[in-house]
């Protein structure tokens, strides 16, 4: 396997695919590493009906000379020009770890859902909105199942529409934002025809189920798995029976690798120049880690980064102009998904905030920082390394994640040993 590249791209969602394709088409040797079984990221996940844009990019990826490391997870950036990665589905431990070398690195690590803890949220069959969608696309039979969709953001409508199309009985969609907060987003949609078409498509599909605004789950009930959810709207509460709760409060960027690589983060996102270059020389970033803006923006930023990394600056600059209107959409989306402060009261004292280490709210209240809470309660110290509870504690307490350390994800001892051996050889 080739492990040395002119351009190495991390993340095979739309931004990463666009970056890899544009760089490879210009003659660069390109590696594309991604931890899922198939390329596409979350939005173009296999099993979903693909639009023409997705089909086009997939066929360009097939045609381009891109070395694909699918099912590989990056866990360290030991020094400039090198990433360490581990295969996720490997029995033979010797081949599980690889050092990937690059001249230029493009980080297209995407985003994850924000979860807010409420009583009962750890019950089986409560997932993220994108999470249940991913499972349904991954083969989970959803036809005839009662699904409640809740949280905030345009993803909810998309997920509800897709699950309904698969035969799920969507018993309701609870959006925490008030109508007037969402209205500003619709104005932005009119300025982006592609998004308007999507919205119209979802709008038709969504007449099939009730939509409640300023509404959110306050408790989930069930014996061993979810049976019903109590939701609240303007002080009134009622119970909805369901098989699944698909609940996500918009998206947060995956910043662990950019932070480990030393990229400057501002206001929760990676800062880049016009050509998607980060504060670190030869390291670019594209897509959701620079601002939650959806697939069109991710494709554009990926292309700019890919062209710039392949040394085609004028062509990259020619695309920059289109990005301006998309930046407006990023801001509109952020404001539409602004969380209601009342959501801070969802968790009760015994509600678990950290699911890996089972740390309840009451154990966290006395601490003033993420670091103190980690050291003294183990909150954020489990396998997910705070990827789930970090966003919750940021909202609940205003805590900021101040550092990341390798390994970024749990890896085998064999991979750490292999990595150290390789590092040793390099420095001798």
């Amino acid at each position: 396997m080739k492990t040395s590249f002119d351009v190495l791209v991390v993340g095979a969602g739309p931004a990463g695919i666009a970056a890899a394709v544009r760089a490879a088409e210009k003659g660069a040797s390109v590696g594309l590493v991604d931890d899922n079984p198939a390329p596409g990221g979350q939005i173009w996940r296999r099993g979903a009906p693909q639009n023409s844009s997705a089909r086009q990019w997939f066929s360009r990826l097939e045609a381009a000379k891109v070395q694909r490391l699918q099912g590989w997870c990056v866990f360290d950036a030991p020094r400039s020009g090198v990433l360490s990665a581990e295969r996720s589905d490997c029995d033979d431990e010797i081949d599980c770890c690889a050092e990937l070398h690059y001249d230029k690195l493009i980080l297209a690590t995407g985003a994850r859902e924000r979860f807010l803890p409420f009583p009962g949220w750890t019950l089986p069959n409560i997932m993220g909105a994108g999470g249940l969608d991913a499972l349904a696309r991954g083969g989970l039979p959803i036809a005839g199942k009662r699904v409640l969709v809740a949280g905030t953001g345009p993803l909810l409508l998309a997920v509800a529409a897709e699950l309904a199309a698969r035969g799920a009985i969507v018993v309701g969609l609870c959006e925490q934002a008030p109508v007037r907060q969402l209205a500003r987003l619709s104005l932005q949609l009119f300025r982006q025809p592609a998004k308007l078409m999507q919205a119209a498509h979802f709008g038709i599909a969504c007449r099939a189920f009730p939509i409640f605004t300023r509404c959110w789950p306050v408790a989930a009930h069930g014996n061993g798995k979810l049976e019903s959810v109590t939701v609240q709207r303007k002080g009134r509460q009622w119970m909805i029976a369901c098989d699944y709760l698909a609940c996500g409060f918009h998206l947060v960027p995956n910043l662990e690798l950019p932070m480990l690589a030393g990229c400057r983060i501002d206001n929760g996102f990676v800062t880049t120049d016009d050509l998607q270059q980060t504060s670190v020389a030869n390291v670019y970033c594209a897509g959701e880690p620079t601002g939650i803006g959806g697939v069109e923006r991710a494709l554009l930023e990926g292309q700019i980064a890919g062209l710039a990394a392949a040394g085609r600056e004028p062509e990259a600059r020619a695309l920059c102009r289109k990005r301006t209107s998309m930046q407006k959409f990023v801001r509109a989306l952020e404001s539409a998904c602004r969380l209601d402060p009342q959501l801070r009261t969802l968790a009760h004292k015994d509600t678990l905030i950290c699911r890996c280490e089972d740390v309840p709210l009451a154990a966290l209240r006395e601490y003033r920082s993420w670091r103190a809470a980690k050291l003294l309660t183990r909150c954020g110290m489990g396998p997910c390394q705070g990827r789930i509870c970090g966003a919750a504690t940021a909202f609940l307490f205003g805590w900021e994640q101040d550092s990341v350390r390798p390994p970024l994800v749990p890896v085998r001892m064999a991979s750490l040993i292999a990595q150290n051996n390789e590092n040793g050889e390099e420095t001798r």
């Binding site: 296999r46 750890t122 994108g130 083969g139």
Partner: protein
């Protein structure tokens, strides 16, 4: 050779037949209520569905802590949950 349409695997010893391309996490939810037990003994099942949360980890072919949402079912696979 064409890929088979269906895959047979076992979950906690019970045979299960799924469509090709099904993730282990999806297979798990078809027949079991949970993937793992939390450190205080709560049953847990997939949350994020995309390899972030580690709630879906199971033992696959004897290898523990595998993220079932990012692994596809394979013929003869042995999946174990507590």
């Amino acid at each position: 050779m064409p890929k088979p349409d269906h895959i047979e695997l076992t979950v906690n010893g019970a045979a299960l037949r799924v469509d090709a391309g099904t993730t282990v996490a999806a297979a798990l939810l078809m027949c079991a209520a949970h993937a793992r037990m939390s450190i205080t003994g709560e049953p847990r099942a997939p949350l994020c569905g995309m390899g972030i949360c580690y709630e879906c980890r199971v033992t696959i072919n004897g290898v523990p802590h595998q993220k079932s949402c990012q692994i596809l079912c394979e013929s003869g696979m042995d999946v174990q949950t507590p």
